[in-house]
Symmetry: D2
Subunit: 343 residues, 4 copies
Amino acid sequence: MIVVMRKNSKEQDVERVRERIEDMGLKAHISKGSERTVIGVVGNLDRDKLSLDPVAILSTDKSVDRVYPVTKPYKLASRENREKDTIVKVKDVVVGGGNFTIIAGPCSVENRQQMIETATGIKKCSAKMLRGGAFKPRTSPYTFQGLGEEGLKLLKEASKLTDMPIVTEVMNPKDLDVVLKYADVLQIGARNIQNFSLLKLVGQTDKAVLLKRGMSTTIQEFLMSAEYVMSEGNGDVILCERGIRTFETATRSTLDISAVPVLKKETHLPVLIDPSHAAGKRDYVPALSKAAVAAGADGLLIEVHYKPEIAVSDAAQQLNIKEYCELVKELKKIAEAVGKSID
Amino acid sequence: MIVVMRKNSKEQDVERVRERIEDMGLKAHISKGSERTVIGVVGNLDRDKLSLDPVAILSTDKSVDRVYPVTKPYKLASRENREKDTIVKVKDVVVGGGNFTIIAGPCSVENRQQMIETATGIKKCSAKMLRGGAFKPRTSPYTFQGLGEEGLKLLKEASKLTDMPIVTEVMNPKDLDVVLKYADVLQIGARNIQNFSLLKLVGQTDKAVLLKRGMSTTIQEFLMSAEYVMSEGNGDVILCERGIRTFETATRSTLDISAVPVLKKETHLPVLIDPSHAAGKRDYVPALSKAAVAAGADGLLIEVHYKPEIAVSDAAQQLNIKEYCELVKELKKIAEAVGKSID
Amino acid sequence: MIVVMRKNSKEQDVERVRERIEDMGLKAHISKGSERTVIGVVGNLDRDKLSLDPVAILSTDKSVDRVYPVTKPYKLASRENREKDTIVKVKDVVVGGGNFTIIAGPCSVENRQQMIETATGIKKCSAKMLRGGAFKPRTSPYTFQGLGEEGLKLLKEASKLTDMPIVTEVMNPKDLDVVLKYADVLQIGARNIQNFSLLKLVGQTDKAVLLKRGMSTTIQEFLMSAEYVMSEGNGDVILCERGIRTFETATRSTLDISAVPVLKKETHLPVLIDPSHAAGKRDYVPALSKAAVAAGADGLLIEVHYKPEIAVSDAAQQLNIKEYCELVKELKKIAEAVGKSID
Amino acid sequence: MIVVMRKNSKEQDVERVRERIEDMGLKAHISKGSERTVIGVVGNLDRDKLSLDPVAILSTDKSVDRVYPVTKPYKLASRENREKDTIVKVKDVVVGGGNFTIIAGPCSVENRQQMIETATGIKKCSAKMLRGGAFKPRTSPYTFQGLGEEGLKLLKEASKLTDMPIVTEVMNPKDLDVVLKYADVLQIGARNIQNFSLLKLVGQTDKAVLLKRGMSTTIQEFLMSAEYVMSEGNGDVILCERGIRTFETATRSTLDISAVPVLKKETHLPVLIDPSHAAGKRDYVPALSKAAVAAGADGLLIEVHYKPEIAVSDAAQQLNIKEYCELVKELKKIAEAVGKSID
């Protein structure tokens, strides 16, 4: 931690801050520049003070201008702590480590025909896992809220038929048990990315967890949410960038494509892109999917529906099966160009 | 709903959209301008199509440029549906309807001394309810997570001593029962504002609910979250603006002071301001608190700690009791200037 | 400047960075923590290297994780360099130093009647300076672009009649001479706040300069723009917060009311609020104006038009004279409550 | 234009709005829904009212809830008005129409050796035009401001030697004449994208214009800035996305990769990506460049310096020649995969 004092701080101001530092059991290295005094802080908190937040505490002093942290708050998720890429295995499917894995399926599970037709359709075009929501986080209480366990059963049927593992969202701790009966990968939605109670719970399961970045979550906070899951003992975490909220309204969200190289540098966890929620409009999904492959993502989480024009949710952004299959053809060429393969 | 066609749409494009509209049981009024055709859509969805989202569905047509909604998605929360201000009563305390109500207390409940000293201190300076977190949503799994029920008991003791109702956060559905035993107002934190499972649950209780706007929640989405609570039968909802996330880093969040007049126009629910989380720095809390009174807010949710310099969370932004009491003196004058009173 | 090395940096990495630092004539203080090495950098650049940017250069090293600046980039504008509030005098009008100064008038100068009626109307209600645009920055090339010098003449006539100095925008260096003939305060619009050529030019005049913060300008960048003007020798700079661009669309921009206390801490320059552009809707202007007084601003820049319903620009956000006068009555009470007066 | 009335509007409210509409020479089509009245507005403004803004004017009515525009504000730039891609020719270089054109060079022109070595280096690796700033928009008045005409001469020398046209920024109308003597493409920087005076001036020249999107410019505003240039008679406009300002700080800006498909749909003008300013860090430039090719951009504007570690500006984000040449090799493969070629 580095404490930068205000410009006109006096000897006694510096002393007061030093005492505050030492009171917590830490050490202060004072360095007086021509303009400002800077204090380096090292050491570990006294045992009875472990709950304190030294950065915030030192910020309260009236002569302190800024406090910069030196260490990063994420440990288990950090590339500095584990250089090698994490590869998450879900049954026979592999995410990370040079593969490009496509997870496809409808926004919501709606009915048997929809699931069977969609699953068999995407299976023919390189999809490796099946997505679909049975518990749906909807902005309005008056819109379709998902089929619940009924939906999970339909997912399971389609999954068995096509031999693709299931990725589905859990929203509520009390639903976790039922979701665990059907899901192969537990998805945490963007709106729950800082629902820490839920993160801890899925961290206690033995299922892989797919975390979707929140609309206003920084990359550092996103990694802290991964840290919540990992600190409970579950290292099978897959990250998914799905667009952040900005002033631009031409797309539903702004896909932060830079999150791919930034996350690849900061963490060893695999990184997917969700082009559907980012775009919000079917027309833009292909370009974003191609950008994802080229930028180095480990896969896609993409919405495909056998008949988007009658979908009960996200109708505007789902590809139909023909559009999806055509897109995959193009993605294969780009994957090859960047040394990956989609099969 | 209004459908604006693309500029060069042909007769058959318009017909196709008209059929799609009529298929859902709705009526289409077509109006051809010199440049574009615009279709007004009225009526109600067929019974078996209630789960459809017509705005999204019509957006999927390749000749449709934009679709504008006409009705607002919130009903119960809307000022258009209820002109009169909602007044939320919590024991003897009143929120809304011309009062300016101060809810104060520490960020986290830490120990008995802290709670007693803080509560008795603020009680003398016009605080009407006591806030304090026993279950804490923390970005890092390695920092203080709250005292849990132990904290609720300390809150209760301080509350009884000072005769102030308790406002405290519930994060996890499974904690709801224990929180209900102690809390007078259930707080939903900014990170859970779109945790719809939790919103429904608190909507089924008979306690007042204080909703904190999320960091990237639009005002419309914020009102939809209120609608979730209200649609379960609980109309005692208090809204609280606490800063939104923007590019500016000089403050922790950017207080959206305009949310006060906008919410006052759109809804009948009371609106508080949380100057502490918005500012993130104690120095800026007084100015934001004064702005809140002047802008027409119904009260403050403000962090006060008897010794901020040893607080285990949010140390940088909590006022001490002296600072708080001085601030209240100034707020009283402004309240009077705008025709309200703080007593 | 403080250089934080990556976690697994080796001896030779640190040495390479040290050499790079010393090559620029600076000194390196190396401090090895248990986890990371931190290098403090002090001293001044060698004479022949003054054009280098050491923060950026050190960031290029592959073993450097982050580089934190210690000094602030603004000097003349900084409160640390000048504790006392700057008071800008424009003829008999004073901005800053405990006064609350209202600058009012229409968005655009449109015609003689409009200017005379508006100016005489606001003069009766505490307006101290007259605003109005003769050169208008419009998003569309097809909308009204301002009357040019003809507009300046109308402004002058209204100004003489009411004895109020003129605040008007200059957009183009080539218009500066003609604007200087009429204006008392040169306004730099939000879209030109980083038009550095223009900033330098107005810095060479002897007129006061009113700088409007840009829609995506940080407070630090805003102060750097003030620094551009001041570094040319013109210290009569007035800052004006007018809303920043965020994801929220209920208002035209999001008024950053916190900018008032932040700027008051960081700089000695006076700070105004423009509630009209922030709100974009007349209904919200009173609440934002009141918040401005309460938060400690030094005045308002507010749009008033004798007949907003026929205004050629910004019709939706201009108050009429009656609304404005009623607002001023309320502002006076709040000003008094915070120890200021509006007369 | 479509006017949505407030829910409880009365007959006389609707009549008042109708009169207002007809007063401007427009026609009102009133349609009463079960909940709200909607008024469609068609026709052209009366001749003496051409300067009015009907959307804003109708918004001022107290019974009007919202006003939606139907037509788009950009005409010449719109894909609806010209289906075929615009191809901009600069000497022998072609931008748009299926080509992928790389414009490379240093941030600032610094000296002869830098320009010659950089230009000859990039020429070998598919660069088609040479970029470099002689007039530099710098946040601080105390940093390097560019060599001015001296820099333009060095650019010219390097350009002749390598037979690459010059892309360079003009910041100030008064510099236009000197820049025109040397430049082949006039660049308008992000900070000047709404400097309408400058846009009009470059629209009057016969040089191609490269417009960089501003940090907080919406895509619609960006197209309006193109419209400014085109409405003066210059149709050779090249658009360049370079990152927008968001809350994320891991990168200098957030590259809005979705801008590529959105702009391709909305306009016929060519679209480049600047990965250097978006990333702000050299490490992330390759991933963003690859994403640009895959997403369908028409080229890159990329910063390359023969020795980034001594660059006077943007040192952290410039590639060296070796890095650049390696990147181009990879870009060629992706270009081929998407049916384009880089030669």
